[in-house]
Amino acid sequence: MTDKNGFFDLSTTGLTRRTALKGLAAGAGLAVAPGFVRYAQAQSSAPIKIGFQSHRTGIGAAYGRWYEKTTAAAVKAINAAGGINGRQVEVIIEDDGTDPGRGAEMVGKFATQHKTDIVFGTLFSHVVIGSAPAAGENKMPYFVVSEGHHVASTKLNRYVFQPGITDVKSQIQSMAPWIAGNVGKKVTMIYPDFAFGYDHRDYLPPALKAQGADVIAQIAIPPTESSFTKYFPQIPAETEVIYHVMVGPAVLTFVKELGEFYGSNRPQLFGFIDSLEATDINSPGLEFLDGSHFWEGSPRYAQPDDSDAQKAYRAAVGIDDNGAAVGDAKDVSTAAHMFGCWETLYVVKKAMEDAGYKGPEDRAKLVEATEALTAFAEGPEHPQGPKTFNGKIHQCFGIQNISKVEGGKLKVVHKTKIEDGLYEAEGDYTTQAL
């Protein structure tokens, strides 16, 4: 057999030693490429991947930044202590633009592209509600730090959890007695005209009614509003307390205009700090808030009775006694919410250890192990305070702080008890198929 065309003649096909070496090098390169190694070594030492759905841009950007800082601090602490099941934790951040549509896309991206073990960290209620179906479809455990009642309402699905921060319904119920007893009995509510505001609209009136107080007016404000004076005439003259929940950058305007409208002769104010997260309480125009009360999940300002765990947590995240970034007093944190990221990651750690979690094939086991949790003790892993967890509704219940604005600081004047905020479950996620 002759080889006329020289197919088998190595000298003419140009397979030189250099080409051969190149091929060898490429093959070796492929073998040491990061992705290759992970699969080659099985899951034993590969990091656990947590997809962080962050509000890096859009209306939630101030929250997103601090959620990232807190998460980084928690992951650093977890990794320093040996990681989860002996594996290091790696956080992969994707920006959802604080947008529900993009949020759902990001959950899909985490599932199919990054192949993360869980998705975590969402705050804004509309993004959670928009992303939850994608988490269910991809069978992706989705741990949110959102505060809304949507998880506990059991209207989402079995893969969505909120184990690090109490929901609004419970917060309201636990604080209503104090409001009725100490601030006033005739309440006018001002709230944003979307999901988060509706939790307040729906749960405050019955909670106050039970205490012999009344909501005498409810004023819904579109979330994009930038001027508020025009709403104030709707506040009835006999109002004793204005209960305000505003989210978004316009809150300073809201307070300033309220000040201009009422002057010193104002009703009492009770608000959710959500409005003023990442905002210096001593900003011009906010003097009007002096003497008013706020809900805080975790106190922004260091309190005299802070536990060692709380102090260690603040140091790890890098916030000073005023709740601002260490070294930059103007960079105020979202302290009332971001502790939820820290605590949620420790819940994930506990659940993964309980489940003997090895990789994405164990996601269902992780869901069941999380549902089996019942309580989290106060300590370095849960610096905000003790919590109970209801596995049927995937929601935790903790203590709430009511703080008074005094001398340009927020001082905690009342702490609720966990029992104050417990309510009857509205459903049961555990009956849903995995």
Binding site: A61, P222, T253
Partner: protein
């Protein structure tokens, strides 16, 4: 509250909205009228004006009035400069092609917005008003600064009108708007007029923003609403018509104030949008616009 005072408050709020809106929309209207460029990035020039006002007042310190006055002068100048550079680098190279400039200004919108997020951050930051005088009416208190915004805006609108109708610069601008080719044939440097008009449009937006920022704070997403409202105003008033812009701004601002106070803010938005649709159907050139040549 009784009907009278209630209406007074609604009207005052409406006037503040109108005043700021008129200035912003006038900038958009000028740019379209003279250059035939739909500037989608107009709202971002507004935002830049506010953000720079914050930066300037923070840098200067001292009495709030000092920083505010400095911001009122410096911030619009810087924004005008940025607009001029953008016009030279982008719009001129596209030969002011209507479709291409829309896409280009959308790009500018995102670039400016994300730069603001990167360098200024996601927080809303307040600027102290130059004075805090609370006017005490028998039924409610009202901010003296807000009234001064109405007055300042009215003065600036009159000044712009004088420039457009009484000066040589105005004449050149109007000639370019009327027929740019003929204007060029008569030796008017149309190219430079375009650059100047684009910068002037941005300056007007920036001034409006500096005026509003002590009331509503600087935030990197604050340009979206003014852009939308400016488009509504310009469509209703007629593109390129100063009188139409002011009348439409008053109409939209007052109706927003009054309807949202007595009914609901959503209804006010619905009515404004409906008005736009009606104008587009029955009088596409706008209430005071002239039909395209």
């Amino acid at each position: 509250m009784h009907f009278g005072p209630h209406l007074l408050l609604a009207a005052l709020e409406g006037l503040v909205t109108s005043a700021v809106l008129a200035l912003t929309a006038l900038g958009l209207s000028l740019v379209f009228g003279v250059m035939r460029v739909v500037n989608v990035a107009h709202g971002e020039f507004f935002m830049l004006g506010a953000v720079l006002a914050w930066a300037i007042t923070t840098a200067i310190g001292g009495h709030p009035a000092l920083g505010f006055l400095a911001a009122l002068v410096i911030s619009p100048l810087i924004v005008g400069g940025i607009a001029l550079v953008a016009e030279r680098l982008v719009l001129r190279r596209l030969d002011y092609n209507p479709e291409a400039t829309i896409v280009a200004t959308i790009g500018m919108l995102y670039i400016i917005q994300q730069l603001a997020l990167t360098f200024y951050g996601p927080e809303a930051r307040p600027v102290e008003p130059p004075f805090t005088y609370r006017i005490l009416l028998p039924w409610f208190g009202y901010s003296g600064y807000k009234l001064s915004v109405i007055a300042t805006s009215a003065l600036l609108l009159v000044a712009t009108w004088l420039v457009l109708t009484r000066t040589r610069i105005g004449l050149v601008m109007r000639a370019t708007q009327y027929d740019s080719e003929t204007a060029q044939a008569f030796g008017i440097p149309v190219d430079r007029v375009y650059g100047g008009v684009f910068a002037l449009g941005a300056v007007l937006a920036a001034i409006a923003a500096v005026l509003i920022v002590p009331i509503s704070q600087a935030h990197y997403l604050m340009g979206q609403d003014p852009l939308l409202l400016s488009f509504i105003v310009v469509i209703i008033g007629g593109l390129g018509s100063l009188r139409g812009t002011i009348v439409a701004a008053l109409l939209i601002g007052m109706s927003d104030g009054i309807i949202s106070m007595f009914f609901s803010p959503t209804l006010a938005k619905i009515i404004a949008t409906l008005l736009v649709a009606m104008v587009l159907v029955f009088r596409p050139q706008g209430l005071f616009g002239t039909a395209a040549r």
